[in-house]
Amino acid sequence: MTTDSRPTGADVPPTPDGPNSLDSPTDPGTTHPATTDPAATVSYVYAISRAGSELDTKAAHLTGLEGGPLRTVTRGELTALVSSVPAGAYSEEGMRARLEDLSELEAVARTHHAVIEAAYATTAALPMRLATVYLDDARVRSMLHERRTDFGDLLAWLDGHIELGVKVYADPREAATAPPAPAPAPASAPAGAGRAYLQQRRAQRRQHRDAYRAAGAVAGAVPDRVSALARARVAHRPQQGELAAGPGENISNEAYLVPVERVAEFRQALAGLADDVPGVQVEITGPWAPYSFATPPTAGAGT
């Protein structure tokens, strides 16, 4: 075993103490020296909004990651909602390790979300993707300046809108309880038990298939019903795995950008969509800040 295999920070050049506060753009690919100083902090960006809103006063009452207070960082007409986080824990390496741990990931995600929710309740805000980190506030300011046109356009586009999620589920087990139960196998006929079992299995399979077909049809009907009420639509990947605790299997997972005043109409348009369809459920989530619509068009829209 070698003792000198890549000690942490060995490949980092000797550093001035404290964060690099150059205002000019630095090469974003370099590891910042600040990561070797345990006391160093970096600027975590939650959201961007227009300058001059109530966000400045609101920020002071919010708590961000690691319990740090929120502040606003302004350049020109844009304001970023920011808090300081330890540079080491939020380096690429530190972040990667933490986000692979589900409980850590959840803690970061919920805090990020809580800040964005509070911001969005105050003013139109552009949510940042999880873990958007800058060396310092000066770098945040130059980012705001560089992207001012994109952000201005996006904020204008999102203004007055919220996001609603629509998920369609196939639940064959629920379908199985809906129609009258198949005739019970005659208890007195042992020879018939095998056949009854097979019939039951076949019926189950049919119910599964029917539930999935019906769910597909319902999912297909959703955009028809609500497209006119929404400004945009994004399809997320259907949810799977142990966190997908919905009723049955998720068949479609969409997000819609809806004008605030049409939210009720949107819900109404989907009300009852699957009422008469055994084994199919529709779930609406939100309102959300417009996470799914915050990607500037140049960077590719959604998934």
Partner: protein, 88 residues
Amino acid sequence: MTHDPAPTNSGGLPGIPGVPRDHGITDLSEEESLAGRQVALIDLLDRLLNGGAVLTGDLVLSVADVDLVRINLRAVIHSITPDDPAPW
């Protein structure tokens, strides 16, 4: 579907207990948004890992990119459980 048909503008949508259905996010009070609404983690991750404005930050370059998202999802996604057989 077994859930009661949700009347216009009011409660009862499946799986979101306690979330008022009839108001926009703009009138959420801070208290409600911070304490009163526990959204499903998976819905949140859909949005925080796939959505949100993507910037090239200074330090965390690949956290926002697909590779790390895949890592997260691998940690999160498990295969279909034995008592929940494949649908076909």
